[in-house]
Point group: D2
Chain length 135, copies 4
């Protein structure tokens, strides 16, 4: 298993008139979680794209347990439970500064060739960085 933790400060624009973070904004929090998780492994997602691979999301699930609020400094835990194959499945847990679990998410992405949009397997360099966590 591979886990990584990063933090995000909730911006005013992320709230809605209910006074909470709008539920649609978690997708982008998860995105920050996995970009920073890959960076911690020495892989910049922008370099994955430069190498000709895109990673579109094909499935996303969110459970909203408690609301997040403006200026909260949230912790995003990004978890990989399996090595990627032709797809990669991330799990997320979002906690506030009190350690309360606010949200859980799962996001599944596929690897596709940037030119012809055909599915490809997980790039070797990413797989090599992840393999030690699943030994």
């Amino acid at each position: 298993m591979f886990t990584h933790t990063t933090t995000i400060r909730i911006r005013y624009a992320d709230t809605d008139q209910m006074g909470f973070v709008h539920h649609g904004n978690y997708a982008t929090m998860y995105e920050t979680g996995r970009v920073e998780a890959l960076r911690s492994l020495g892989i910049a997602y922008k370099d994955v794209e430069l190498a000709g691979i895109l990673m579109p999301v094909i499935d996303m699930q969110s459970k909203y347990l408690k609301p997040a609020r403006f200026d909260d400094l949230l912790t995003i835990e990004t978890i990989l439970k399996e090595l990627p194959t032709s797809h990669i499945q991330f799990h997320f847990e979002v906690l506030n500064e009190l350690g309360e679990l606010l949200n859980t998410g799962e996001v599944k992405l596929v690897f596709i060739n940037k030119k012809n949009h055909r599915p490809v397997r997980c790039p070797g360099p990413l797989l090599e960085k992840l393999r030690p966590f699943f030994a």
Copy 2:
């Protein structure tokens, strides 16, 4: 069963550098779908809030089958398969102008009292408008 159809024009800001609509934007499309579905029943969601009821999302699931693109005129089908109780579960299908199914979604919301955030049952007026579709 209750179904309602509305359309949404994809804006430039909805795209990302992959050239597709960013996956995080479907939450707001679903939101438009259900607001317009309620309006077709004679219920303005803003009036639900004015009457003291909030409807936070507690669960959302999305499957991304094909990408949507800038300027696409998408059809959002909003479906209720069951009468609401203390929660309401919407199903969504998003299609493009060619009739291709791009995305399916499920969003579950609860009814809470605006003042104390305690759960309440589905407001009577909404239930009455929906009941004929489930007779």
Copy 3:
């Protein structure tokens, strides 16, 4: 002078905890205004891009006179006071259903070649469609 009018329904996600539309969302309203203005002339902005021209924004100004709210059906007036040259300057007026002027904006865009990002002049077809309004 060329003017065009379109309408936009304010979505829940557009609001913030102040209970108003977040000021950052007007950029996208202006975008819808000019895309629909061009469409009314028979020009799809996506076709401009397909023809190899991008139109990045280089200057934007907004005055916020009164707040917009959730579910408001806003009118966006898009105005061109001069024929485009190497740039195009749009003026916007945003009104609510009571006819109250909520916001005014100005957005200046340039035309650039999609491949080399060099400035180019306004595409001929757009200029020809606009010329009759400035005769």
Copy 4:
């Protein structure tokens, strides 16, 4: 004069199909700039709201000099050239990691009473924190 510097990582969702950061997203960058500037003075903007003062934006201007891109770590310089009165005017400069100036902005906000939305003067505690920078 008061100046403060913070950094922001550009997220994938911030880009559009032009491959750059969408121009509408700078409003939120400026917002982060001023929230962090106030925090550096010991003032949490959320506490300003809790004390009954809202700060809506009434004027915003942006100049887009060069594009920002996905994963850029941008520097936001937040500048106050004058002490606030019934309004507060922030200036912003946005630079990339190469030190290139990408964008400049000006945002003017007013102070209003949260309950009746009437204009009020800048709260004393904020004024006291800022005064030493303008001595």
